[in-house]
């Protein structure tokens, strides 16, 4: 079981007690991070643990879409 931290530590848990926390800005930043690293992370996992028939179509936090090839 492998879980990527595409927030690099800056998860929403860190902001639970912040009044007026700017969710949209945080989300946009998190989406950019996820887009930059998640597919590479999946590729790295495939390299480390073996090739698998898997293909990612689209990525953003809360929704990761995979389909078979």
């Amino acid at each position: 079981m492998l879980g990527i931290d595409y927030f690099f530590g800056d998860t929403y848990e860190k902001h639970l007690d912040e009044p007026g926390f700017d969710r949209p800005t945080w989300r946009e930043k998190s989406v950019r991070q996820a887009q930059e690293y998640t597919l590479g992370w999946v590729e790295a996992i495939k390299q480390r643990y073996g090739q698998c028939l898997m293909h990612a179509h689209r990525v953003y936090p809360g929704l990761y879409v995979f389909d078979t090839q």
């Binding site: 079981m1 927030f7 848990e13 690293y37 073996g50 078979t68």
Partner: protein, 144 residues
């Protein structure tokens, strides 16, 4: 978050893609529900590792079953609380302890499975995972 699942699955398909009705709308935004949590308690059993992506260490939670090395890898894509949130660590720990035969009903009860064409209802998730397992011999994707 806008989620529309207009097409209830009527049978178990042979492939992943046909499982989702073509007129479904994928979620497009986050709502207050996405930022709501109930804190669980427990002691996580996994560990923190780093996966290098282009030289950048990406924090990753690794939960492994005891005994023989696992033959199947499950990828966990968390909600806004992240893979290291205690609730999510405990979920990953539990998945790691389950064999294939037990994994599907567990997911069917607890996880919403999303695809590029929509969101499967919980009652459909078991069939979805069963299909995904058959077409992906060693890799499974789980989103919550």
């Amino acid at each position: 978050m806008t989620m529309v699942n207009k097409g209830a699955m009527t049978k178990t398909p042979d492939r992943f893609t046909p499982l989702i009705a073509p007129d479904c709308t994928v979620m497009t935004a986050l709502t207050d529900h996405c930022f709501t949590t109930v804190q669980h308690t427990g002691t996580p059993a996994g560990q923190r590792i780093e996966i290098s992506v282009g030289g950048v260490p990406v924090p990753t939670y690794l939960a492994e079953p005891a005994g023989d090395p696992p033959r199947r890898i499950i990828l966990f894509f968390s909600d806004v609380f992240g893979a290291f949130y205690l609730n999510n660590q405990l979920v990953q720990d539990y998945f790691a302890t389950q064999g294939k035969s037990n994994l599907v009903p567990v997911i069917a009860r607890r996880v919403r499975i999303e695809s590029r064409r929509g969101v499967l209802q919980l009652s459909d998730a078991g069939a979805y995972l069963d299909t995904f397992h058959r077409s992906n011999p060693c890799l499974t994707c789980v989103t919550i």
